[in-house]
């Protein structure tokens, strides 16, 4: 290695301790002197570059971080709460919408679906547990009552007729149970006076304040039932 290269190398990195640098020092006293000079220079540079660090800088750094992450945590908590609240809100709205949204497009379709859904859940004979008074008690939900006996009642229950508060009546029929729905005025379902499928048929009559749907076995004389109900039902406002 020539002198120039030796110097360049040490200027660039005084700590360069490759064997060829060591060899340069050993072989040439001028190089050795230069090596000492450069170490001296680097010591001065090192000292000059090490400016004083502000007191408490490390403490301030830790403090700032602690404050910042605390602030972040609290805003994060608030943010989480907001997200949870809006999720809950939309779940609520969604469930409501899902429950209340009309799936069926006509009274007939819905009645049939409802009928088959509950098929077999009721006994075929009235046990006398439901009388006119308890029937009328339920009927208040749809602002109606019966002023006389309409038949042997197997069961009465509140039901959601496609999202509307309604009364579901099960009466003793000749061949099978007769199902009667008393529902509020329907706007979103198409009306049909008569409907049927392969097994059962149904009739519906619209009143000012509501509607009565009667379903039963094909052999049942539903018009007689309709007539009976028509005679006894009274609507209140």
């Amino acid at each position: 290695m020539d002198d120039l290269e030796f110097r360049r190398r040490l200027y660039a990195d005084p700590k360069d301790n490759n064997s060829d640098i060591q060899k340069g020092i050993d072989e040439d006293s001028a190089n050795a002197r230069f090596y000492d000079e450069i170490q001296q220079l680097d010591k001065r540079i090192n000292s000059a570059l090490h400016v004083e660090v502000p007191e408490n800088l490390s403490n301030n750094l830790i403090l700032k971080q602690t404050l910042a992450s605390h602030r972040k945590q609290t805003t994060q908590k608030r943010w989480h709460l907001a997200v949870a609240a809006s999720v809950a809100f939309f779940v609520g709205v969604g469930i409501n919408y899902f429950n209340a949204s009309p799936v069926y497009t006509s009274v007939a379709d819905y009645s049939l679906a409802h009928y088959y859904h509950e098929e077999g859940k009721f006994s075929h004979s009235a046990d006398g547990s439901v009388n006119l008074a308890s029937l009328n008690d339920k009927m208040r939900d749809v602002n109606a009552n019966f002023n006389g006996e309409i038949g042997n009642i197997v069961a009465v229950k509140d039901c959601y007729f496609d999202g509307m508060d309604s009364v579901h009546l099960v009466l003793e029929g000749k061949y099978d149970n007769i199902t009667v729905f008393v529902i509020p005025k329907v706007q979103h379902l198409a009306q049909s006076r008569q409907f049927a499928d392969s097994k059962i048929h149904g009739l519906s009559r619209e009143y000012q304040q509501g509607e009565v749907i009667i379903l039963g076995d094909k052999r049942e004389a539903l018009d007689l039932w309709q007539q009976k109900i028509d005679e006894t039902i009274e609507w209140s406002i």
Binding site: R8, Y11, A12, D13, P14, E37, I38, L41, D42, R44, I45, N46, S47, A48, L49, H50, V51, E52, V53, P54, L57, S58, N60, L61, I62, K64, Q65, A68, S69
Partner: protein, 189 residues
């Protein structure tokens, strides 16, 4: 069942343990490296307060990204990279001129200054007058303890360029010192 799932996911003690260990890592990082980082920032911007702000901002960013720091050995160059980016951002925010080299309060009480401090003071002015391109590798080498190759990586230069700049930086400082000694010699003699 539900309770089990929740407990598994994040028990509060687990979370606070993670936070505590992160805090410990962070504090170790601050204690070990804040001085070097401050000095690097100081030589970058020549202003104590801006340097301090830069270091603050750098460590805050470092805290947020602390999980991404896998190799503790690489911490110093990682922090310097963050700080350089922060400094670049400072220039984007407003078109700042590099402030003139000042040394307030570093040598504030002249009465208690030692010869070493006077010497440092004099040399600091010379270092500040070096072109920034020469000064930065020098600071990284002397304060950061980085090799030529590491500096080349950090500054996106090739190693030969870095070595040339380091050579020129020291060469210019040596010339300055020598001409100063000549001047002194003349006025003394």
């Amino acid at each position: 069942m539900i309770q089990k799932i929740f407990r598994k996911k994040s028990s509060p003690t687990q979370v606070s343990n993670d936070m505590a260990s992160k805090q410990i890592r962070y504090e170790a990082l601050v204690n070990a490296l804040h001085a070097d980082l401050y000095r690097y920032a100081f030589w970058l911007v020549h202003d104590q307060h801006i340097a301090e702000d830069l270091v603050q901002e750098t460590f805050l960013r470092a805290w947020r990204a602390l999980d991404s720091l896998k190799d503790e050995k690489a911490a110093k160059s990682w922090l310097i990279t963050i700080l350089r980016r922060e400094n670049a951002r400072r220039f984007e925010r407003k078109q700042l001129d590099m402030s003139e080299y000042e040394e307030p309060s570093i040598v504030d009480n002249i009465s208690t200054t030692t010869e070493q401090q006077l010497e440092d003071h004099w040399l600091r002015e010379k270092i500040a007058r070096l072109p920034a391109d020469y000064r930065e590798p020098l600071v990284l080498q002397v304060i950061g303890g980085f090799s030529g190759e590491e500096i080349a990586n950090m500054l996106n230069l090739n190693k030969n360029t870095v070595m040339t700049r380091l050579f020129r930086a020291r060469n210019q400082l040596k010339d300055a010192i020598e001409s100063e000694q000549k001047l002194k010699g003349r006025s003394n003699g």
